[in-house]
């Protein structure tokens, strides 16, 4: 054994920096006794952007540190940039909403920062232990955020539900990890991979552990049949928190899944592929069908996100470089459209009261044509209609899946995309086709929401013209995962 040696800190510099900033912001928030949380909010947005800027310049080469528990490579860098930008944008666009809802406490941005830190560590986890720690660091702030509005029964219920089910999934994950450790004798991903490749026959314990691990991940990305919490939590949580839930943690969980299943469990692809295909098809189908009946826009978006995760899982099921590239592209475009959509949900106000019913959107086209146009763009994009970005995200997933011979998955994918087109179209119909009521919606626009909405709409429309930046970056990010 070598004597104690300090681990190299440079690969984890962004995480360490973000952690320190977050701790500093807690002190700042406590020290500033006033109710105003603007300073902390702005500071956290700035910190997130700064770290993202650092990540842009970060090396895409593979480094590992902390005894191989932490790894950074091109894939991690790309996903971390997405996560950081997603968090920054959700804090940025919900600032006014939070003030209006009298939830403006400094804990709100701080909790998001902690969760973001957890997510960054998730994408870099290279050991079952660091995986679990990162996952819990990500989840615990989310439970608190869901219950942020303490005086609302729905919000507290959402928080509690999320917590109980989240704990259950963590339990499954831990049990799976222990089985894997028991049968392979290792927690480090590289060692597990080595152990699995030398085994001629896979011990059933490893397969069981792997399936349990997969179930735990399925909980986190809300894939059917582990999706039950999503609609309730989305509906109950304050809208700004829902926006965060819908966008950022999903990306981190998918990144973690990619890392685990394309890493140590890569040799077991035949075992896990069928499970992932099942999860994907079930999610696509349920997301498409269940959303049709929803009246609450947040519930509808919850089911819609379940469906979207199904498509993303299709890319993982392909288990190939194009598949992972497709997943990366999918989450990037999903983030753009979700940000735009939630920017509009955050605007939905009627006479000083926030509303959430889909019907309340009626007449938006005549009152606020630009906002309605943006919403229509988002909806058509989510439905996967060309020439909008959403079509290409599905195109790449389907291409990768067909490449892997998963014709059944793709067939289900296109059929469910037609089914889900129905409820996206319904929103367009309510905004454009229905007559405007007298007491219609009165969008609570502010500069920030408008800016976010404009940027995301333009990005979704212009993706077809300039796809190179995203496609190129996604390609290199996926490639680093396979060059090892």
């Amino acid at each position: 054994m070598r004597p104690f040696e300090a681990p190299a800190l440079t690969p984890a510099f962004p995480e360490i920096f973000l952690g320190l900033v977050t701790l500093f912001l807690i002190i700042l928030g406590v020290a500033r006794k006033d109710e105003d949380s603007t300073t902390v909010t702005n500071f956290s947005i700035f910190a997130l952007i700064a770290v993202a800027a650092v990540m842009f310049r970060f090396s895409h080469e593979t480094f590992s540190t902390f005894n191989g528990m932490f790894v950074t490579d091109g894939f991690a860098v790309y996903m971390k940039i997405l996560i950081l930008l997603g968090s920054a944008v959700t804090i940025f666009m919900s600032a006014r909403y939070v003030e209006r809802q009298r939830m403006a406490r400094f804990e709100y941005p701080v909790l998001i920062l902690f969760s973001t830190l957890g997510m960054m560590l998730m994408t870099s986890a290279n050991d079952l232990i660091s995986l679990y720690m990162a996952l819990e660091l990500q989840s615990l702030p989310l439970y608190v955020l869901a219950a942020m509005r303490r005086d609302s029964v729905k919000s507290t219920e959402a928080g509690l539900k999320y917590f109980v089910l989240g704990a259950l999934s963590s339990g499954m994950l831990l049990y799976g990890s222990s089985l894997i450790y028991g049968y392979t004798g290792a927690t480090n991903f590289n060692d597990i991979a080595a152990a699995l490749t030398t085994h001629e026959f896979l011990p059933v314990g490893v397969v069981t552990g792997m399936v349990l691990l997969l179930s735990g991940f399925a909980f986190k990305v809300a894939a059917v049949p582990f999706h039950m919490w999503t609609p309730d939590v989305y509906e109950g949580a304050p809208t700004s928190v829902t926006a965060f839930f819908a966008i950022v943690p999903k990306m981190a969980s998918l990144a973690l899944m990619v890392r685990v299943f394309m890493g140590p469990f890569e040799p077991m692809v035949d075992e896990w592929r069928q499970v992932v295909v099942l999860l994907a098809v079930a999610s696509m189908a349920l997301g498409g069908i269940a959303a049709i009946a929803q009246q609450n826009i947040k519930r509808m978006l919850a089911y819609s996100s379940i469906g979207h995760m199904g498509y993303a899982l299709g890319g993982i099921a392909a288990a190939s470089e194009p598949g992972i590239k497709a997943v990366i592209i999918y989450v990037t475009i999903y983030m753009m459209t979700s940000i735009g959509t939630f920017a509009i949900v955050l605007m939905m106000k009627q006479k000083d009261r926030m509303v959430e019913n889909i019907r309340d959107l009626s007449g938006l086209a005549s009152r606020q044509p630009m906002i309605a146009l943006s919403m229509a763009i988002m909806m058509f994009s989510m439905a996967g209609i060309p020439p909008l970005a959403g079509f290409f995200s599905k195109l790449f997933i389907f291409q990768a899946a067909i490449d892997a011979g998963l014709y059944g998955l793709v067939f289900m994918g296109v059929i469910t995309s037609v089914i889900s087109a129905f409820y996206y179209l319904r929103i367009v119909k309510i905004m454009y086709f229905d007559a405007a009521p007298d007491e219609g919606i009165d969008p609570a626009t502010d500069g920030r929401l408008n800016a976010v909405l404009a940027v995301s709409s333009v990005a979704v429309v212009l993706f077809i013209v300039i796809p190179v930046p995203i496609l190129g970056a996604a390609g290199t990010a996926a490639a680093t995962l396979f060059s090892r």
Binding site: F398, F411, P467
Partner: protein
């Protein structure tokens, strides 16, 4: 020769108009006026540019011309590739020709949200032209499906009372068809690592794979054409759409299906096309006869013309799958002729609908007395639809039946009965609307067509007569390209055991016997 990317220019010029439209500000009145003017000007420019393109188009060549290629999706071998040959050039012209007419036709009838309406039409124009120019399957698919968005909005916002139902049905029906094509495209890409349409015609797709891919293509083209039994969205969409929407729908959108068969199914999947020919023939003659019968009992003018569209498009699919020169030329000619004639017929309905706001046939009668000019125009287009010699409708139907006769006499006979039925329902419609007693006071008060309406009809009238009297001006430029398609097809199919009677009977008597089939009308 043209050195600049003319096809991209024609395709995306309408988007420039959209950009201008987006920035129009002011009160409703000015916005509406400026929007109309901007849209009309843009579409006329586009049409002029497409004429310029046609002037430089080498009409004796069978090759793709004005080809542009650019790298598009990095990492995949999918390119932005445009180009036209003798087949697609006419569809580009047709789309560019009908759009200004549509905009003029909605000059007065559309009064709410004029700006959005014009934006939708210009977007639609870009998508349509782009689809006919695309030489890459993914690009083709993008345009093919993108058409749905503006059309959905046009039907849904400016349509009739059941517009929501009709627009959803239209959108979901066509989407369901086209997503299956996407799977087929990706399967082709997986095997041959290209989506270039020209390259794919040369690779020789394995026969078993061809059949599956052919069926997937059929799903999307059959819905678009539309073929029986997936035609049910069409009557609803037509009835509810505003006049100009019906014009574009019948004039161009239906042609996308026929164009798809010609551009993709035949050249890329020749063996499968031959294999499934009996099925296409069966479905087509059912379409011709059944929808003609349905058209006979319609009470709604638009619905009647919608069903007649299905019947006429049945001739198109019949012609395409005869795999001989007359059949293909006939199918092409029929598509172009139907594009003009059905568009004109919907405009005719639009004229009386604007005045009386009903499409019920029994509400009219005796229009010849107070609207003589209208009666004359309507008469001409009715005759063109029936297929009177001297109008464009005759040439297409005649050529298709002549080509059909070489493929199958039985199917020709059944299809020819459709011609008779076509004459029946169109003349019946004309008699009930234009002749008879002029005894309803509100009908009596209707004014004859004004100068604007006349200027819309004038180019259509000229075109219908021109195509009827001098058809070779249209057929000659497309013939080399059709010959190329046929040569490719026969090179691939004839060396196997002949699968359709078409190949065995190439020397069968043509003109005379086919003429008998035609004579039945």
């Amino acid at each position: 020769m043209i050195t600049f990317p003319i096809l991209s220019l024609v395709t995306f010029l309408p988007l420039v108009g959209v950009l201008f439209l987006l920035f129009i500000r002011g009160n409703d009145e000015t916005v509406a006026r400026n929007a109309r003017a901007t849209a009309l000007l843009t579409s006329i420019f586009t049409f002029a540019l497409s004429l310029y393109m046609y002037a430089h188009f080498d009409k004796t060549s069978s090759e793709f011309q004005f080809v542009e290629q650019m790298s598009w999706l990095p990492g995949l071998d999918i390119n932005y590739k445009m180009g036209i040959d003798g087949i697609s050039v006419f569809f580009v012209l047709l789309s560019a020709f009908l759009t200004p007419i549509c905009i003029l036709a909605s000059w007065e009838s559309i009064t709410s949200r004029v700006k959005e309406y014009m934006i939708s039409f210009l977007l639609l124009e870009t998508m349509m032209i782009g689809m006919f120019c695309a030489l890459d399957l993914v690009l083709f698919y993008v345009f093919f499906e993108a058409v749905l968005i503006p059309m959905f909005v046009i039907i849904g916002v400016w349509g009739g009372s059941r517009r929501v139902y009709a627009s959803f049905k239209f959108f979901l029906y066509t989407l369901l068809g086209s997503v299956l094509m996407l799977i087929a495209i990706l399967a082709l890409y997986r095997t041959f690592n290209t989506t270039d349409i020209i390259l794919l015609t040369q690779v020789g797709v394995p026969e078993m794979m061809q059949k599956w891919i052919w069926l997937a293509f059929l799903a999307s083209f059959a819905v678009k054409v539309p073929m029986w039994p997936v035609h049910t969205w069409l009557p609803d969409a037509h009835v509810e759409a505003p006049t100009a929407g019906s014009v574009i729908l019948a004039g161009v959108l239906l042609k996308m299906g026929g164009y798809g068969f010609l551009r993709l199914s035949l050249p890329i999947l020749p063996e499968a096309s031959a294999y499934f020919t009996p099925m296409i023939f069966t479905l087509s003659v059912i379409a011709v006869v059944y929808t003609s019968l349905v058209a006979l009992v319609q009470e709604d003018m638009k619905k009647l013309i919608a069903y007649s569209s299905v019947a006429h498009m049945g001739f198109v699919t019949l012609g395409i799958f005869t795999f001989n020169q007359q059949g293909l030329e006939g199918a092409m000619f029929q598509m172009l002729s139907h594009g003009v004639v059905s568009a004109a017929l919907f405009l005719c309905v639009g004229v009386v609908y604007d005045r009386l706001h009903t499409r019920e046939i029994t509400r009219y009668g005796g229009l010849v007395k107070n609207m003589p000019r209208y009666a004359a125009v309507f008469m001409l287009f009715t005759m063109a639809s029936v297929g009177l010699p001297g109008t464009s409708g005759f040439v297409g139907e005649f050529l298709v039946l002549a080509g059909m006769w070489q493929a199958s006499t039985v199917f020709t006979f059944i299809a020819a009965t459709g011609v008779v039925l076509g004459a029946a329902y169109m003349l019946f419609l004309y008699r009930r609307v234009v002749f008879g007693e002029l005894n309803k006071p509100d009908v009596k008060a209707m004014k004859d067509i004004n100068l604007r309406e006349l200027s819309i009809f004038a180019p259509l009238v000229v075109l219908v007569l021109w195509m009827g009297i001098y058809p070779s001006s249209v057929i000659a430029p497309m013939a080399p390209s059709l010959t190329r398609v046929l040569d490719q097809y026969h090179a691939r199919v004839t060396h196997k055991t002949a699968m359709t009677p078409a190949i065995q009977k190439t020397a069968a008597p043509t003109e005379n016997t086919a003429g008998e089939g035609e004579a039945q009308q």
